[in-house]
Amino acid sequence: MMKQRSYGSFWMWGVFLLIMVVVLPLSVKSYQINLVTEMIIFGLFAVSYNLLLGYAGLLSFGHAMFFGTGAYATAVGLIHIPGLPFFGAVLIGTAASTVVGLALGALLLRHKGSYFALLTLAFNALFFAIATKWHSVTGGDDGLSLDRPDINLGFAQLNMSDINTFYYVTLVVIGSIILYCWYFNRTAMGQTVLLMRENEERMKFLGYNASITRLILFTFTAALAGLAGSFYALFFEFTSLSAISVDMTTIVVLMTFIGGTGSFIGPVLGAAVYIYLQDFLSDITDRWPLVMGIIFILMVLYAPGGLSGIITSLKEAWSKRFRKKGDIGMEGQER
């Protein structure tokens, strides 16, 4: 009975959110549309990061490698291949980060825990060094500017220099990928990942191959981060070193953790809050990252579940006031 109720509210919220994001361009200025587009792109980046951290328990400090690879591959593709279509550029970015993810996964996943965290950070620094030094391809400190190509659907031409059009394309593409990630956790593969996090020994005894599972997941998240990076490049029509720097990794760690690693929607929430706060705080002070850092540390110390954890406990406290004690036990089982 209760299950039905929670699903009902789930759909209600889903439909509400959908209507909100679809009619948004009609009601707000293009400045806000820019912000929301950025939120969606970083939402995917954070979701891909949480698939590693929250679902597989792998703490990586090098996720910007894939984001940056996607961004650079897209930019390089658009600059050097004349007439490359929009989705061709996205595909190049995603493919490049997938390949990089597979190769690095094979090398780095031999280690776990702190060692893995350290190695990913070191490799992120390596990628940053390559992007800095390989001036002829990446443009070094100058970065790469690109033009967002229009999309030709056959029957219609989408003018991508219009931010509203780009917003809708981002919403449809990235939004459906995020939905797929949500669905992914319900697939056999997704369940295997959860099993691996909970009890790797048992998983092995059941006949699953943990290293292959981890490699597939790692490559998958690399591909998603590359896709986000590709849209990032197309959104700003510019790719710079910041896309591949350790700072970008820090951003995704902060987003994911502030939003909460325990739930699927947490990182999306975290990305939205981060982008909004960044926009809001950077008007007030130059040192806004300090505020982000303090929020992050406070979360680590006092609210390890992140924002979504806080919301869940608020909801529980709320329902406690209205329901008898027996019901709460059931709610606990649902999760």
Binding site: L53, G57, L59, F61, L107, R110, H111, G113, S114, Y115, A117, L118, L119, L121, A122, F123, A125, L126, A129, I130, K133, V246, T250, V253, F257, R287, P289, L290, G293, I294, F296, I297, V300, L301, P304
Partner: protein, 286 residues
């Protein structure tokens, strides 16, 4: 080819710095399995504290004494009031906490001292050069190297000759056993953490006048220290010593021979070690 000995000495100097930073990192990791991302931030703070102190007193010896003490206190406070608090949540949280601390310290440094490089001018005999087997070499670099050697020797003496050193080494080996023998391991760990912070800060103080003091210096040496740990093996001091030497020399000769590739050489060495011997040269099999 008068350059080769000079660059060899440059390499030794950097190796000394690296060892000061990575030895604390590797000890802390060996004891509590906590990889401290904020470790290099203590190095940076050492350099900045020393910069401010030198502006007031102009006495490097004083700042060599005071800055490590300040960082010892800071390290102890961070361990006692922040790190220990998240210990119950597991390793992921400890990593995230130190990562966040490194981020905050970098931002605080930018807020306090500005986001640009600061230079320290040396005075007295340290600013001069010395004639060494027919080579003219800056005194200060030799001084840095001597400091690194001295501190390493003191550390080795503490670790291998004193009771507290024996406890620390035993705790690195098996901290549960040491704990059940009635030794307050959390307190020992706090001491080691703070000592590591002080060592790192000391390295920062002596690095300040040579390398410029800027907000990115923490990340730079952190990555190098990580590479040292990967190559030398986790928790191994001997490994850290040899790997520091390798990285220092590789960096120096890389700059001399392949200026464009010097950064990549270090990573190549790391990747090679990872492929051939994932546990590092002197690490235990994982």
């Amino acid at each position: 080819m008068g350059e080769i000995p000079v660059f060899f000495l440059h390499g030794l100097v950097y190796a000394g710095l690296l060892f000061l930073v990575s030895s604390g990192l590797t000890l802390v990791f060996g004891m509590m399995n906590v990889l401290n991302f904020a470790h290099a931030s203590f190095y940076m703070l050492g350099a900045y504290f020393s910069y401010s102190l030198l502006r007031v007193t102009d006495n490097l010896w004083l700042s060599l004494l005071i800055c490590p003490l300040l960082l010892f206190l800071l390290g102890a406070l961070i361990e006692r009031y922040l790190l220990r608090r998240v210990h119950v949540y597991g390793h992921l949280h400890e990593l995230l906490l130190t990562f966040g601390l490194a981020y905050i310290i970098a931002e605080l440094v930018k807020l306090t001292w500005g986001n640009y490089p600061l230079g320290v001018n040396l005075t007295g005999f340290l600013a001069g050069t010395v004639n060494l087997f027919g080579l003219t070499y800056p005194v200060y670099r030799l001084f840095m190297f001597a400091c690194a050697i001295l501190i390493s020797l003191i550390m080795a003496a503490i670790l291998y000759k004193t009771r507290i050193g024996i406890i620390v080494r035993a705790a690195v080996d098996d901290n549960e056993m040491v704990n059940s023998l009635g030794i307050n391991v959390p307190r020992v760990f706090m001491g080691v953490f703070a000592f590591g912070a002080a060592l790192s800060g000391f390295a920062g103080v002596i690095a300040g006048p040579l390398l410029s003091t800027f907000p990115g210096m923490a990340t730079e040496i952190l990555i190098d220290a990580f590479v040292v740990i990967v190559i030398g093996g986790f928790g191994s001091l001997g490994g850290a010593l040899i790997a520091s030497f390798m990285i220092g020399e590789l960096q120096a000769f890389g700059t001399l021979l392949f200026p464009d590739l010097s950064m990549a050489l270090i990573y190549m060495l790391m990747a090679l070690v990872l492929i051939i011997k994932p546990s590092g040269l002197f690490g235990e099999e994982l």
